[in-house]
Amino acid sequence: MRTWLTSLLVFSLCVAFAQAAELRPPAQVTAGTPFPIASNGTGEGTFYLIGPAQISKRKVNLGGEISVQGDEVEQAGMYTAILCADQCTSVHFYVRPAQTSRLSLLVHPSRVPVAASNAISAVAFVFDRFHNLVLTPQKVDFKVVPPGGAAISQSKTTANGTAWIRLTSARKGGPAKVGASIGDLAEMRVVQQVASDACNLRIKAVPGPKGIAVETEPVRDCSGNFVPDGTVVSFTKTDASGKTTVDAPIKRGVTQVEMAVSGPARISVASGVVNGNELSLGGAR
């Protein structure tokens, strides 16, 4: 019986000493912050630290604390610490992002028609100084400064490091500033608000050297903004010789064309999806 007990004791002691060295990382680790990992055991071993963008390998003395430098844990995510002596033992821990220090702002589109509902979108991504997405909810203040108007602000809380907003463009054309901020961090983008489709398109006709000169009134959108030069206006003439369409760009706010007519004629005008007035001409020229 005594022999049996002695054997059991010796076996247990052997098992205890033969146990692999253990690692005990802290419960919470922040990106870029140095910290110790406690180990047990005696003698020398090889320590490995494997992270999302990091692999470290060094000899360490077992039983003490293994120092991990801040630059070894700059990336947030899961790390695997491995200690190899007679056997290898491993432990996982997560590194959480550091404090918010960068804001990335995507604003689309860069040009937008005025008074377009929910036409502008702004998406903010919140990062720490190591480019880790900050996953804890953060309050992002979005701000829009229309040309010559008062700024409009709205706050959104991030989910998984992302916050977004949709905006309706202002009624007045010109550059609008769209920004996002968290505390002192701010990012700003400019969206060019351009006139929308023409509105109340009207033409008048006067006798010209080669026929009838047809000219639009200054072409504006429904908010009173001048439709940009270069926008095409189509004139359609219907007379005894048939139907003819002439396209011409807006120059200095108006469009002008000259058309030969034979007999009574009708001339209409359109720009994009917008139709203007129609003229009826009675004589030939």
Binding site: Y48, Q54, I82, Y94, V123, H131, N160, W164
Partner: protein
């Protein structure tokens, strides 16, 4: 009579050896084939916002994410940074490039045996230029120092993925492991 028996025995042994060679060759081929195949990716687009995912985009995302894992596993296994060009960009590419550089420096290597991914689309930007997804991946992970395996595990990992559209495919812009959030 004895001579005949010996001849038959010899032929049997030869036949068995040939069979063994064929079986081994088929097994190796299937392993190579499995290693070069993209992993299975299931995408759940039902809970995404503010923009809905179009059917074609849904298929493209699943295909490109599978290819990104395939190329990442190959790049890490073979220490080849050039393989990352196809499906990675931005921070994700930077991190993996750094990881491969450190693999070369230390002689440590990470090997993935990819068992598949379940993707949940979380966010699709209104203008369609960024998509955030949660991936629940089943992986076999092996870490080697030289030829010696120092860590081996079957893991259920959770990743937060940011993908952005490229010229003809979606690219992984950020890939971060996150702790599993219990429902």
């Amino acid at each position: 009579m004895r001579k005949l028996a010996i001849t038959i025995l010899r032929r049997l042994i030869l036949l068995l050896a040939a069979g063994l060679v064929i079986v081994c060759f088929s097994f190796l081929q299937s392993q190579i084939h499995a290693a070069s195949e993209a992993p299975k990716v299931d995408l759940n687009p039902d809970n995404v916002g503010p923009r809905a995912i179009e059917e074609l985009t849904s298929k493209t995302i699943a295909r490109d994410y599978a290819n990104s894992w395939k190329t990442m596993a190959e790049a890490l296994d073979k220490n080849r940074v050039d393989l990352l060009d196809g499906y990675f960009t931005g921070f994700a590419k930077d991190k993996l490039t750094q990881l491969i550089a450190q693999q070369k420096q230390t002689g440590v290597r990470i090997r993935y045996d990819d068992r598949g991914h379940k993707l949940d689309a979380l966010f699709y930007s209104p203008s369609g230029d960024a998509m955030q997804l949660r991936d629940r991946a089943q992986l076999g992970i092996e870490i080697l120092d030289g030829g010696k395996v120092i860590h081996n595990e079957e893991a259920n990992m959770q990743y937060l993925v940011l993908m952005t559209p490229g010229a003809d495919r979606w690219l992984v812009r950020d890939l971060v492991t996150t702790p599993e959030v219990k429902p």
